[in-house]
Amino acid sequence: MPAATPLSPQRRRFLTDTARMAGGCALAGGGLAWLARDARALPAEALRPPGALPEADFLGACIRCGLCVRDCPYDTLALAELGADGPATGTPFFTARDVPCEMCDDIPCVTACPTGALDPALTDIDEARMGTAVLVDQENCLNFLGLRCDVCYRVCPVIDEAITLELSHNTRSGHHAIFAPTVHAEHCTGCGKCEKSCVLPEAAIKVLPLRLARGAPAEHYRKGWEEMEEKGGPLVEGVIDLPDRLPGPGTDNLAAPGGFEPSFTLPAPGAGE
């Protein structure tokens, strides 16, 4: 074996020092990463200001300066405090049941944001999607019980679009109506005025983050009635029209003897030509 040149002690020292430092930093960095990722779990009742980027992007964009909070004229926004509030420390949020967003036309919070964590592309407050209202408790909602509370509907800044009252028969009393407050998510900004105004001790309508409130249709789903309307006729030619089994006297009600008429019959083959 050839005589190896003795390794310098400085080299060994440098290598061990570097390894030790790298190890320490990996440990510290791991802890920090754990904390930083932990902060991603935004509580459902904490809503971000209008125009806020999706939460994962927001946490990389918001520098926690608080200028949006300062420029909010209604003191809606607050900065999350360490250990006291759920969202990542120092980031802005609001709780609809405490102070909802008043949907200012000039959106001062977005204007104040220096980094674009609140997207300056949002210029029409009606386009904001801070969350969406969900009537979470039909069993306690006064309107669903058959009363005319209507408060959530009346206070909605996008009334008759984001919340409508859907009329239906009150089967309990037999001769009254139910005006069901119904949210249409494509118009709801998530401002939270409905949740704030709900007269119950615990709101029956709540603004939830979209990730919790909304389902999503599968990409391949087609709504037959929409497709049919578009085409102006049945999608598949020559479908056999099977007899309808309908309620009413006569067990089978095949030709509607004494019962209900079918509401829809397929056009006879060749009828549309």
Binding site: G24, L32, A33, D57, G66, R70, L79, E81, L82, G90
Partner: protein, 302 residues
């Protein structure tokens, strides 16, 4: 060891210069720290919104944006390209500290500085051991770690625990349990590691140190020939490794304290009873004093 070395720090300076003169820069520094904090508190306390925001990002007189460049660097590492306002704000801060010395932030603005100074004062009074002393460049490693974690998690990672912005935001907006972090820094400096946080670990200090590597404003041991080896400057300096090259420099070696670790706190100027140190700019290489009178032969190399 000289007799004077054994005297408590600053006694000689107070005797010769008077208490006020021997605490000039310390008092100015506390005033400055209070001033910058008060600017942010004028709004929430008195409704006077000259300055809104926090140290991470602010707006002065409704027009001047300032952004902490390290916070913005984390945001960039996390993959977010910020709007122009934040970029301009960061550039202004970068330019200012590159000029006057990055770590001027540490000793004249940072709200944690009074905390660690208090810890050090108590540490001295209790006569505690210096404890764990990690290498000075640990903070550079931590700075790298902070940026790496920001990139990996896609978040402004350091702001999850940064005691500086936590304390500042706490005072201006609401504290929560941020005081616990501040208490941890205090206890760490008191019991675990003397001058440990600011001097060895804080990645913010590391960042501002790098920023001020070529800064103009410097302390210089201009009258180093007058030094009587009382060691008070070494005792009072939070980064005392920066002094020796300037103070003990041989003829021809610069009297300027050029290390980016120097925070320009000016305490060495305060406690020196023979006024060795003075603030000057980095091109002022004059050396004067009784044993080395100014003259062509003493002029240093450019």
């Amino acid at each position: 060891m000289k007799e004077k070395t054994k005297l408590p720090v600053g006694v000689e300076a107070i005797r010769l210069k008077g208490w006020w003169q021997a605490h000039r820069f310390l008092l100015l520094r506390r005033l400055s720290q209070g001033f910058f904090l008060l600017l942010f508190l004028l709004g929430p306390w008195f409704g006077l919104w000259w300055v809104a925001g926090t140290l991470a990002g602010s707006r002065t007189f409704g027009i001047l944006p300032l952004t902490d460049p390290l916070v913005l660097a984390q945001s960039l590492a996390a993959g977010h390209w910020p709007e122009l306002t934040a970029l301009i704000g960061a550039l202004i801060v970068l330019a200012a500290y590159a000029l006057i010395g990055g770590r001027v932030y540490c000793s004249w603005v940072c709200p944690i500085n009074p905390v660690t100074d208090a810890a050090h004062w108590l540490h001295d009074r209790l006569g505690l051991q210096k404890g764990w002393q990690p290498k000075r460049h640990t903070r550079l490693w931590l700075l790298g770690t902070v940026l790496a974690v920001s990139a990996l998690t896609g978040t402004v990672a350091w702001e999850a625990i940064n005691p500086i912005t936590m304390l500042h935001r706490g005072l201006v907006f609401g504290m929560g349990f941020a005081w616990a972090l501040v208490a941890l820094v205090f206890l760490f400096d008191l019991l675990v590691s003397r001058r440990g946080w600011c001097g060895h670990l804080c990645p913010v200090g590391a960042f501002y140190g790098l920023l001020g590597t070529h800064s103009l404003l410097r302390v210089s041991a201009t009258r180093r020939a007058a030094c009587d080896d009382c060691m008070d400057c070494f005792a009072v300096c939070p980064e005392n490794h920066v002094i020796a090259p300037a103070l003990r420099g041989k003829d021809g070696e610069t009297p300027l304290i050029l290390s980016p670790d120097c925070t320009n706190c000016g305490r060495c100027v305060d406690v020196c009873s023979v006024d060795v140190f003075a603030f000057t700019h980095r091109f002022d290489r004059r050396v004067e004093g009784p044993s080395s009178p100014p003259g062509p032969s003493r002029q240093t190399v450019a």
